[in-house]
């Protein structure tokens, strides 16, 4: 079994990381998961959270939000709408994201008065953002 796999983290504006890693912890929409080499092929969407990678060249943590991860036996690519190294994240970033999520929640409440689905989604996004802010505690 291979010890490492190719890991790529790309955002729409640039590619943030491309290296060999031994494991990656992903904030999946249905819960956190850790992917290691020879994982079965899987595509999962992301919720806002922290992505942890662990490899021969050390550990790294990234804040990601919105997008998906594509996992197969030899490689893992994460496409995130917003991604940045965790140590560059400031409280202002988090506040901005929470504010955005809150605005979206309000907008959803306005537009979908009789459909709970989108409102619940927006509420969950907002809760995720707040939890994320508390969790990384910057």
């Amino acid at each position: 079994m291979a010890d490492t796999m190719q890991f790529d983290l790309v955002s729409p504006e640039r590619s943030l990381a491309s290296l060999e890693v031994s494991s990656v912890q992903i904030p999946g929409a249905d819960g956190d998961m850790t992917a290691m080499p020879d994982h079965s092929p899987l595509i999962t969407t992301l919720r806002p959270g922290v992505l942890r990678i662990d490899g021969p060249s050390g550990q790294a943590e990234y804040l990601v939000s919105g997008g998906f991860a594509e996992i197969n036996a030899t490689s893992l690519s994460v496409l995130a709408e917003r991604a940045m190294p965790l140590n560059e994240v400031t409280r202002a970033h988090i506040d901005e994201m929470i504010e955005e999520a809150r605005a979206e929640h309000e907008a959803a409440k306005e537009t979908f008065k009789n459909e709970p689905g989108p409102v619940d989604d927006a509420a969950k996004l907002l809760a995720d953002m707040v939890a994320l802010g508390d969790h990384i505690n910057v």
Binding site: P12, D30, N72
Partner: protein, 291 residues
């Protein structure tokens, strides 16, 4: 025959024009490098995104419950044309070509009896289409304050388009932009974004069977709106690079023309100066002879 002073003024004015076009050319060259870089950096995201979407669309698109962004509304009566051009002129035929492409499409649709709505991104396209299609305008996105196109700009446009779609304002959306090939060549392109039209996955990627978490349709519903933003972002970047490339070559031509004009005017100036001197000499000599 213009006077010597007139010629001199004219040469000076062409010289300052040349300075300006030369400066604009160099600025465009610097901006082009930056724009090309960001277009290249965005490419991996777009490519992977489209590859995964292609797979998903192929496996889930056939079902009746497929999201409307993928399967369409079942009608193609109302078309939304999103015309993306630059905010500034002086870039050769760049804006004109995109507007021409969009106008041709609009006319074709109108002749087929469809309803056309136009959303313009960038001032120049709006100005050009205003003459004959002003009554079709439904909105305008102004990016003139944006120095460097960010993903959030594309998200804003996408949100606008999606809310119109949700409100049932149109059935089919097409974006018009210029594909950047190289500095001298930009191809005006039309691309349908709603219903989404992804290239079919290639043979090798189709071999892997993916699990989906959550299920395929939930992922599709989550990713399709992002796909609209991704495509718009890619188009904006292509446009940005194309605009600078077009401006660079247009200004290069202008600089060269100004140089030729200066040469011609200088020759004309020297000749008339010579003629004046000869005239004066003749007058002096004939005056001397008369004595």
């Amino acid at each position: 025959m213009p006077s010597l002073k007139d010629l001199k003024n004219r040469i000076e004015s062409v010289k300052s024009t040349r300075k300006i076009t030369k400066a604009m050319q160099m600025v465009a060259a610097a901006k082009l490098r930056r724009a090309q870089e960001s277009a290249e950096q965005a490419r991996p995201y777009t490519e992977r995104f489209n590859a995964v979407m292609g797979q998903l669309a192929a496996s889930a698109g056939g079902s009746d419950s497929a999201p409307r962004l993928l399967s369409g509304t079942g009608s193609d009566q109302v078309h939304l044309l999103v015309v993306m051009t630059a905010e500034r002129g002086l870039c050769g035929g760049f804006n004109g070509n995109i507007a021409k492409r969009a106008r041709a499409k609009a006319q074709e649709l109108l002749q087929a009896g469809k309803t056309v709505k136009i959303l313009t991104v960038g001032k120049k396209g709006r100005d050009q289409l205003k003459r004959d299609l002003a009554d079709k305008f439904v909105g305008h996105v102004d990016l003139s304050d944006v120095k460097r196109v960010a993903y959030s700009d594309a998200q804003g446009i996408a949100k606008d388009i999606l809310s119109r779609f949700d409100a049932g304002d149109f059935d089919v959306a097409t974006i018009f932009y210029s594909q950047f090939v190289n500095v001298v060549s930009q191809i005006p392109t039309a691309q349908q974004i709603i219903p989404a039209d992804f290239d079919a996955p290639e043979g090798d990627s189709g071999g892997t069977l993916y699990d989906y978490e959550p299920d395929e349709e939930a992922i599709l519903a989550d990713l399709l709106p992002r796909g609209v933003a991704t495509q718009i972002f890619a188009a904006l970047l292509e446009n940005g690079a194309g605009e600078q490339g077009a401006r660079m070559s247009a200004m290069d031509n202008a600089t060269r023309n100004a140089g030729e004009m200066i040469d011609k005017l200088t020759i004309q100036f020297n000749r008339s100066r010579q003629a004046v001197i000869t005239n004066e000499l003749i007058e002096i000599i004939s005056g001397a002879e008369a004595l």
